[in-house]
């Protein structure tokens, strides 16, 4: 599988939210306004790319050579948690405007299963370094695409007459289902 295929597949065919069901919490929580959704998506893409690099290094330079694969889950989650902290401190120092835009979303990212999912899936699929990075960027952009589309629909949905019990998460999930159906039309397009 070449890199372009992998990249496009990660965005459209095997979309993190709509195919792997990862990152549902922010997908439902931060998808009420397009601006916020876009910032969240960018923050996730950024951290995902870093996680892809860091988890690959941990896995291939420490865990596999020393036969410590049973520490994979513990080390991945610790790496992600500290990475998010570092990124937050770094951005706050270096670029206050960027911090204003992404800052509040960063702490939420630690418990975003999309990040952990990326590290685990890349390890499971045995990707080499370059593929892992491409997979990370593609998955992040796929997440951004899904959450931005969702927020666009939800802004319109505010004006619609939704049955009382379905308001909020119920209708959001049903909309996500219809989006998943639409995205399944991309299956098979990768040659």
């Amino acid at each position: 599988m070449d890199l372009l295929t992998l990249f496009v597949a990660a965005i459209l065919v095997n979309n993190f939210v709509l195919y792997y069901f990862l990152g549902i919490c922010p997908f439902l929580g931060v998808s009420k306004k397009i601006d916020a959704a876009f910032s969240m998506g960018m923050a996730v893409t950024f951290v995902m790319t870093l996680t892809a690099v860091a988890s690959w290094m941990i896995n291939h330079w420490i865990l596999i050579p020393f036969g410590l694969d049973y520490l994979q889950i513990v080390s991945f989650i610790l790496v992600i948690a500290s990475l998010v902290q570092l990124v937050e401190m770094f951005i706050r120092k270096m670029s206050p405007p960027l911090y204003q835009a992404l800052g509040i979303y960063l702490p939420l990212i630690t418990t975003n299963c999309a990040i952990m999912g990326l590290a685990l899936l890349a390890a499971l699929k045995n990707y080499d370094f370059i593929k892992t990075v491409v997979f990370g960027v593609g998955s992040g952009l796929g997440f951004t695409l899904a959450i931005v589309l969702m927020s666009g629909i939800r802004e319109q949905l505010d004006l619609a007459d939704v049955p009382e019990p379905l308001k909020g998460a119920g209708i959001a999930l049903i909309v996500a289902g219809i989006m998943a159906l639409a995205f399944s039309g991309f299956s098979g397009m990768i040659k």
């Binding site: 599988m1 597949a9 049973y70 520490l71 098979g188």
Partner: protein, 201 residues
């Protein structure tokens, strides 16, 4: 004890306890997990080459693994080829058996797939899709017959039936097999099939 010292002590203690605990769990389960994986491969080999008694790996790279198989009298039965590639939705992993002279596919089995249930997932159907692969002539690349025909006798020697409504999944399986066949012949020509080593499993 001041706070930061206590923080460090607690974190170190928790880390050490969980680390040592997990290494015990890791050691206890390691062998069994490795055995499960080996068993899965062995079962697949005996499925595609039923008279297999012993088998051993003769080639391995990122996308292809080849096992040579021998029967109880140590005569070569053929090769079992383990290959994977992209399907309609996600990776398809399959294994097929081929005779020693690379002329006939003996049988095909799908090990992993996430195709559409009820459509593409029919590639795992042993009574229809997979049955038409048995004994196909693979000296040339195989081709797909669509619409599908009823009996294997109506197929040309190197044709296999497509699944109605799931042409792409059928094509993807065909592509994986054809690509691996091509590579198999290349590898053989380069003399990289090290069949003289007999580290039987």
């Amino acid at each position: 004890m001041n706070l930061s010292a206590r923080m460090i002590v607690v974190l170190t203690a928790v880390g050490l306890i969980s680390g040592s605990f997990l290494s015990v769990v890791g050691l206890l389960t390691k062998e069994r997990i490795a055995m499960n994986q080996q068993l899965e491969i062995q079962n697949a080999i005996s499925e595609v080459l039923p008279s297999t008694k012993t088998s051993h790996k003769v080639f391995e790279d990122e996308s292809l693994t080849i096992y040579e198989s021998r029967d109880e009298n140590d005569n070569p039965v053929g090769f079992a080829v383990y290959a994977s590639g992209t399907g309609f939705q996600d990776i398809i992993t399959l294994m097929y058996g081929i005779d020693p002279s690379f002329s006939k596919i003996k049988a095909l089995t799908i090990l992993e797939q996430k195709e559409t249930p009820g459509l593409g997932a029919k590639i795992t159907d042993k009574t229809s899709f997979l049955r038409y692969w048995e004994g196909r002539n693979c000296e040339q690349p195989l081709s797909l017959r669509k619409p599908a025909v009823e009996s294997p006798g109506n197929l040309a020697p190197s044709e296999v039936n497509a699944i109605t409504g799931a042409t792409i999944s059928s094509e993807k399986v065909l592509d994986i097999v054809n690509l691996s066949l091509e590579r198999l012949k290349e590898i053989k020509q380069k003399g990289q099939l090290s069949s003289e080593e007999k580290n039987a499993t």
